[in-house]
Amino acid sequence: MLDTRYSMLDTRQACSSKQRALEILVLGLGNILLKDEGIGVHIAQKLQRVALPYNVEVIDGGTAGFDVLLSAQDVKRLVVIDALRAGKESGTIYKARLKIEECDKLEQIFSGGSKISLHQTGLIDALAASRKMNGALEEIVIIGVEPESTDLGLELTEQVKQKVPEIINIALKEIEDAVHRK
């Protein structure tokens, strides 16, 4: 049976009645049923086993991750981890760091040219909405991982799996910087 012991640690606090400002929210996105597509979730679930300061939150956003942005209370820094196709070698890790006022740039690069979104808020929409909702957000970091395969399957491919420690370190570094920056 799948190990779900840690999952109760999850968004309870993000969604609790306690109003508190988070220094940093790490949001792992993806679908774990589609191999490397789930890399963000795999990383989030590993980070949740690390003892982190009270003002840090790690969320397994799964396939509805953008919605989580709505649930999160005031967050100063947001780190999104997801599979990202940019055409380099499988397992390549990409990083983008944007000030909140630079978010429009994301619009340009992610514009799929489609006129209409029938369902599901995309990352850009969610960010735009959370800017209106969440005055505290200052910076967004996107950590992308080039997938080898997004076919059906619960396991990461070897090329991506071997990058997991490195991705975790990058995320932990972000957390550390956010917590100590004052």
């Binding site: 049976m1 799948l2 999952s7 109760m8 999850d10 968004t11 309870r12 969604c15 609790s16 993806g30 679908n31 774990i32 049923l33 597509e37 799964g62 396939t63 509805a64 919605d67 989580v68 709505l70 649930s71 997801d82 599979a83 990202l84 196709r85 940019a86 055409g87 990409y94 990083k95 983008a96 944007l98 740039k105 994301l106 690069i109 992610f110 514009s111 799929g112 489609s114 006129k115 209409i116 979104s117 029938l118 369902h119 599901q120 808020t121 995309g122 929409d125 960010l127 909405a129 800017r131 209106k132 909702m133 996107i142 950590i143 992308g144 997938p147 997004t150 059906l152 490195e166 990058i170």
Partner: protein, 524 residues
């Protein structure tokens, strides 16, 4: 002259529902609705521990994970023989978790997806962000009303946040809650949790009463021609949903449901529903023809992507061979026809404002109105469910304090301390309602492993392709005959599709920046 137009509502994330219409003399003659991505998640479950279904099926979808959690738990209850032993607290909390998702989903649908087909946000605020891209429509709402609706759009974001918070009070997390498990739910109710839930719920109810329903009525008044558009197949199917304890449902000791199961025809004739009458055709779907005509309990998923005649990865579910529509409209009309006093009062109160009969609900606006009224029905019912909870009493089947030495989980632990044997072989079915319509899970267990798992989503019914008898699916039928003013800007069809609240776009959302990096991303 006939023209083919294609509305490819590909989300920028990677969409999966494409709609094609053949327009002749300004009228839709033929329509095709196609799911363009293979979704054979059932295959992954084969050979796995049956309990994994509860965790994994939630990951199918980013919009209705809660409904899949509920359906899979019901399916496992059935297979494990726990169906009649779930305590009242467990039933009620399951309903509260699913109800929170209904409220969130319906409010999302109207304000953040559908309203922009009717409301000119650019005229109201001069800026589209954060609004989703749109077709240029005919906007008829006054500027003041536009501004009001845009304000409510922002308020609705906050209300949805509160819905998520409510869900996670009992569900542990959102998305992909971990609270709903076979045998009941993990979380016991406490007074603190009930209070935390209730104050959010009351704010949401106020929003539904004072904003959502009036806004839908305001839109309906400005667009009353949409009571005539998108009639559809006029056969409404519900599996029934929100399983309540006996004392709340007012039914026999097996309990009842908030939404009654049934099939209602265009003449408002009602017949009982039996799940054995469901079959799935695949003549026009990319699956092996040997799959066709099977009940989901015996269903197969054998993809065959190059099949001739096929145009969708969605199968064609049918009830006694007939096309059916699912969703809020189906639920409200089913309860109405079956004499539910509460629903009758709600529906009549709106119909009287338009001097209309119930059959106007078979329309684009009818679907929006039914969804709004259903939101109120569920939200108000949730108050009663909360009040029925017994704090600190179990919410799961006979919890076992210490299973074996040291409290180690054993094979016999179904979930959090619930002991029951996973049968050597068996079958289960879990049928319930998701925000956008009925959802069903079917499983067969062999050698204590999943041998077969089948899911039929509501959108599979609504957006299904033609069946083996070449009958178009519900959404296809709703489009056929529609007048399209401007084939380059077919907002009539967009409004029809949207009113069904289709959901296929959620399973993959890979970010894709190929050829467009703009120097923002650097390689680490």
């Amino acid at each position: 002259m006939s023209t083919k137009i294609k509305i490819d509502p590909v989300t920028r994330i990677e969409g999966h529902l494409a709609v094609e219409a053949v327009i002749d003399d300004g009228v839709v003659k033929e329509a095709k609705s196609a799911g363009t991505l293979f979704r054979g998640f059932e295959i992954i479950l084969q050979g796995r521990d049956p309990r994994d279904a509860n965790r994994l099926t939630q990951r199918i979808c980013g919009v209705c994970p809660t409904a899949h959690a509920t359906a899979s738990a019901l399916c496992l209850d059935d297979a494990f023989g726990l169906r009649d032993t779930v305590p009242d607290n467990g039933k009620l909390i399951r309903c509260l978790i699913l109800g929170s998702n209904f409220l969130q989903s319906h409010i999302l649908h109207f304000y953040h997806l559908a309203a922009l087909d009717y409301v000119d946000a650019v005229a109201a605020v001069g800026d589209l962000s954060p609004f989703v891209p749109r077709y240029e429509g005919d906007y008829r709402v006054s500027n003041e009303a536009n501004a009001e609706l845009v304000n409510h759009y922002l308020k609705a974001l906050d209300i949805r946040r509160k819905c998520h918070q409510m869900l996670s009070i009992f569900g542990g997390k959102m998305p992909h809650n971990v609270g709903v498990v076979p045998g009941g739910v993990i979380e016991k109710p406490t007074e603190e949790k009930i209070t935390n839930f209730l104050w959010r719920l009351n704010e949401i109810r106020a929003f539904v009463d004072n904003s959502y329903i009036p806004d839908v009525i305001a839109v309906a008044k400005a667009y009353s021609d949409y009571f005539e558009i998108g009639k559809g197949c006029q056969r409404l199917l519900t599996y029934g949903g929100f399983d309540l304890p006996p004392r709340l449902s007012g039914e026999d000791k097996s309990g009842g449901k908030l939404f009654k199961a049934g099939v209602v025809s265009g003449e408002l004739e009602f017949v009982d529903f039996a799940k054995e009458n469901i079959t799935e055709d695949v003549k026009h779907s990319w699956y092996a023809d040997s799959d066709s005509g099977k009940n989901p309990a015996k269903g197969e998923t054998k993809p065959q992507p190059k099949k001739k005649q096929a145009y969708s990865f969605i199968k064609s579910p049918r009830y006694k061979g007939e096309v059916c529509e699912l969703g809020p409209l189906a639920r409200m009309v089913n309860n109405y026809v079956q004499g539910d006093a509460e629903v009758k009062k709600l529906v009549d109160s709106v119909l009287v404002q338009f001097g209309a009969e119930i059959n106007v609900l078979y329309s684009v606006l009818g679907r929006h109105a039914a969804r709004a009224l259903e939101t109120k029905l569920v939200a108000d019912a949730m108050v009663g469910w909360l009040q029925q909870l017994k704090p600190n009493e179990p919410a799961i089947v006979h919890p076992v304090r210490n299973i074996t030495g040291g409290g180690q989980a054993t094979e016999e632990t179904i979930s959090n301390g619930v002991q029951a044997k996973i049968p050597e072989q068996g079958e289960g079915a879990g049928l319930t309602e998701a925000p956008r319509g009925a959802v069903g899970h079917w499983m067969t267990i062999k050698d204590r492993k999943i041998q077969r798992y089948q899911v039929i989503t509501p959108t599979a019914w609504n957006a299904s392709p033609k069946d083996d008898k070449d009958q178009p699916g519900a959404l296809e039928q709703a489009m056929i005959g529609t007048k399209v003013k401007d084939k380059d800007n077919p907002f009539e069809l967009v409004r029809i599709v949207r009113a069904f609240d289709p959901c296929l776009a959620c399973s993959v959302h890979l970010l894709d920046v190929r050829g467009n990096e703009s120097g923002i991303f650097r390689i680490v």
